[in-house]
Symmetry: C2
Subunit: 277 residues, 2 copies
Amino acid sequence: MTLETVSENRSFGGIQGVYRHKSQATGTDMTFAVYLPPDTQAGKVPVLWYLSGLTCTHENAMTKAGAQQFAAEAGIALVFPDTSPRGEGVADDDAYDLGQGAGFYVNATQNPWSPHFRMWDYIVEELPALVCDNFPVDAQAQGITGHSMGGHGALTIAMTHPDRYRSVSAFAPIANPTESDWGRKQLGAYLGEDRAAWQAHDSTLLMAERGYPGEVLIDQGASDQFLDLLKPETLAQAMMARRQPGWFRMQPGYDHSYFFVNSFIGDHVFWHAERLA
Amino acid sequence: MTLETVSENRSFGGIQGVYRHKSQATGTDMTFAVYLPPDTQAGKVPVLWYLSGLTCTHENAMTKAGAQQFAAEAGIALVFPDTSPRGEGVADDDAYDLGQGAGFYVNATQNPWSPHFRMWDYIVEELPALVCDNFPVDAQAQGITGHSMGGHGALTIAMTHPDRYRSVSAFAPIANPTESDWGRKQLGAYLGEDRAAWQAHDSTLLMAERGYPGEVLIDQGASDQFLDLLKPETLAQAMMARRQPGWFRMQPGYDHSYFFVNSFIGDHVFWHAERLA
């Protein structure tokens, strides 16, 4: 597997790198970012996956979330994947919330998306293998988080593969996409109109059905401009109804932006580091 | 107003006192406990009310919650009231969850309870005036918390009088008593069968209707043996649906006992101290 180094920068005593590779899952070149803390000089470290939201690439959270300072202190690596396949020959849509930049962390089964939009396999299978082979990270100590569409991805992936992700959290996740305009449109386009296929990609439904064996941390801004699309109350109800260990925090005054993520990323990094130690 | 000192003990550099007075609200002698931190030597301090659960007196939380060490550090006073009127001539029931030890923080309107069971007025009006007159506490800096039936009391009182209680939290509150066997029986006995009178004493309904102007902290043990009676999921849903600022934490492995309260009382004391400073 050839890994091209796009850039590497010193950051809080560690290295913030950006890399490109040819993905088997998506059939395209894919770019991702890895932060390695100073502790990697002594051996493998735990790794936290950060899945981004609609319109984002690997770059948004890398440059705006402010996670590196905490990852350096906690001694864990960070991975920031892209949110979809991209480029010429890859299907797209004029809307910001479908197609490129909006992969929704599913394997598309419908045309024109199915040839490249296989973000579930990419995030869950291909990229972890690549990262663990090429960087000093411990495959047995992986956690996952994300923002908005990425929070949806983190929660659905962790509940589906709790053996692989030993910790999970989310920032303002799209919590109930089968009942939201952020979800029905995308799940319908990528997976078709048979709603049975959607169930595996709805955090509220997965929470009600199976939950997560560890503690779950959710942060949501109370002034988020997209609350009606995110539907935090359905996830909170499902969590507490099944007595899911974890914290659901409604943070007053915060909106949906990276200023919100930035304000609580330290809590999340330490939350994961504690559980991956 | 005559205040009889039952006992005073040095505790973490402050004083843990127990006092008795003749209550106008209940028409009985009432006993309560006050912890004053060392900071009261320099002037008035904020005060946190701790309302106890079924079967408790002023004594249970005073001796088992372990709050004094944190109150001393945070510089806030604690008050532990009793949970009902008591004594000969006061109505009672053979059940542990009705009558003496089970006042439910309401003003009873029904016989045989109405002559003495006026715990709402006692907790909200009479005792605060008495405490603020007789101890170095700041009437403008009051917070309220409680456990189980006391969590129910704390939440309903704070949502009804947010001007008076500038911070609120709860441990395993009886969250939806109008829909629980911990609630329907007591509200029916004390308030009568007209459910309209019950609405003012249900945290989930008050949360849906009005909420609280500050942040709300709820801790609930995931292994609580009374979860089906407490109904945390209905309160969590109501909180997140109205975007109520606050934290709802489902704490894995904890049950309904004081070992649970004890484990998180520090978080709660500092939560209140920060908001009452």
